[in-house]
Symmetry: C2
Subunit: 209 residues, 2 copies
DNA sequence: TAGATTGTTAATCGATTAACAATC
DNA sequence: TAGATTGTTAATCGATTAACAATC
């Protein structure tokens, strides 16, 4: 694509994907921008504008084919290109993610976990080996994982992110409730900040009072 | 406040709070909109516009007092008003949240957990009692918690959300990777959608390629 | 006082919505 | 064909940035 796509549109892409998959599961084969918009809480116009950032997936007088559009959005999101991930930190949250998160359906394969606790180093979690965090640099240099998942205490976030960037990581999925300021800003960071989310909820509740 | 504050501003409030707390910890007593903006990746102008949605916290020629501004933003976010929360679902993610998430520093007190697994019903997790999910309606009717945290499998999300709304819940913190469409849209929902976040990262990595 | 920096208005920029010709 | 619905341009709306008088 030539013209850059706005952040707002990018953040809606996964939602299109999810809703289209739902439609597919229900056996729906075509959908109009109007109906898809209603389902997602968007206007028909916005749906068409969003999709046309990437190409003309619809057909006049008909609508959009669910299967085709779902596949196209999957390709735009690169879900069809399997990328590898390592996770640093196997406390409760890290463990929850390793055990339950379906990396594969989001285009990822989790290949290794790292921790500093001797009690878990050398074990496996759901089939993923846990290595000593001191081996992180060597491992990443040798294996070139695509993404690092940060689930360790926030005080180590900068240091670990630095190591990952040194080794050529391509993206960071950050759960540490810290704004990472990477030296290399070519490395995209996606934050999942529980605390910020809950504070927003706190605010909204206050408003409704 | 009279004029409604935009979503974009609201989502930045927790970040102001976090960064101001950092400054406070470093012993900084005053900060200009310029310096705060630099720290957060915003323009000085935007910082001033944002803060002036809620009041004039600064002083010409001086800047903003860190302590005072931090406290004011805490009040805007209602962090000083303790609200109660119940969590539904004590799998890995639910357990991770119960064990590790600091509800208190975000203005909440977690009071109960619910699950359907007989093996955990009747136990405690970090001091929080786990009840049978079938008791959820009665418990909420009797105790009127403010917020429900959804960490159960997504297929139950609608049903549980319905029960919570029936009982007068004031907000929902939704981890189920589903868009909840509540009947009562007076109840705010905050989503923490891991899959959407990772898909966005997948997209961004693809762009950098 | 002079310098710094706010609060606030105006200008710009970008995103959403509306409109409609194209066309299946 | 007639009806439906897209792709796309134009209009509107809202958010960000710039500018500057007020003032500490």
């Amino acid at each position: 694509m030539e013209k850059k796509v706005s952040q707002a549109v990018i953040r809606r892409l996964p939602r299109y994907h999810t809703h289209l998959r739902e439609l597919q599961d229900m056996g729906v084969t075509k959908i109009s921008s109007k109906d898809l918009g209603d389902k997602m809480g968007l206007t028909a116009s916005q749906v068409r504008q969003d999709l046309n950032c990437f190409g003309g997936f619809g057909q006049q007088g008909y609508g959009y084919p669910v299967d085709g559009l779902l596949e196209s959005i999957g390709q735009i999101l690169k879900l069809d290109q399997i990328k590898t991930a390592v996770i640093v930190g196997t406390g409760n949250l890290g463990r929850a993610i390793v055990n339950n998160f379906n990396f594969f359906s989001n285009g990822f394969k989790l290949v290794a976990a790292f921790d500093s606790d001797p009690a878990v180093i050398g074990t496996e979690i759901s089939g993923i080996p846990v290595y000593d965090v001191r081996q992180l640099r060597d491992y990443c240099t040798a294996n070139q994982p695509d993404v690092g998942v940060l689930t360790m205490p926030k005080k180590y976030a900068r240091e670990i992110a630095g190591i990952l960037c040194d080794c050529g990581i391509r993206g960071i999925w950050n759960f540490t409730n810290t704004d990472l300021h990477l030296d290399i800003d070519a490395v995209p960071v996606e934050n999942v900040h529980f605390a910020e989310s809950l504070m927003v909820l706190s605010y909204k509740i206050g408003e409704k009072k």
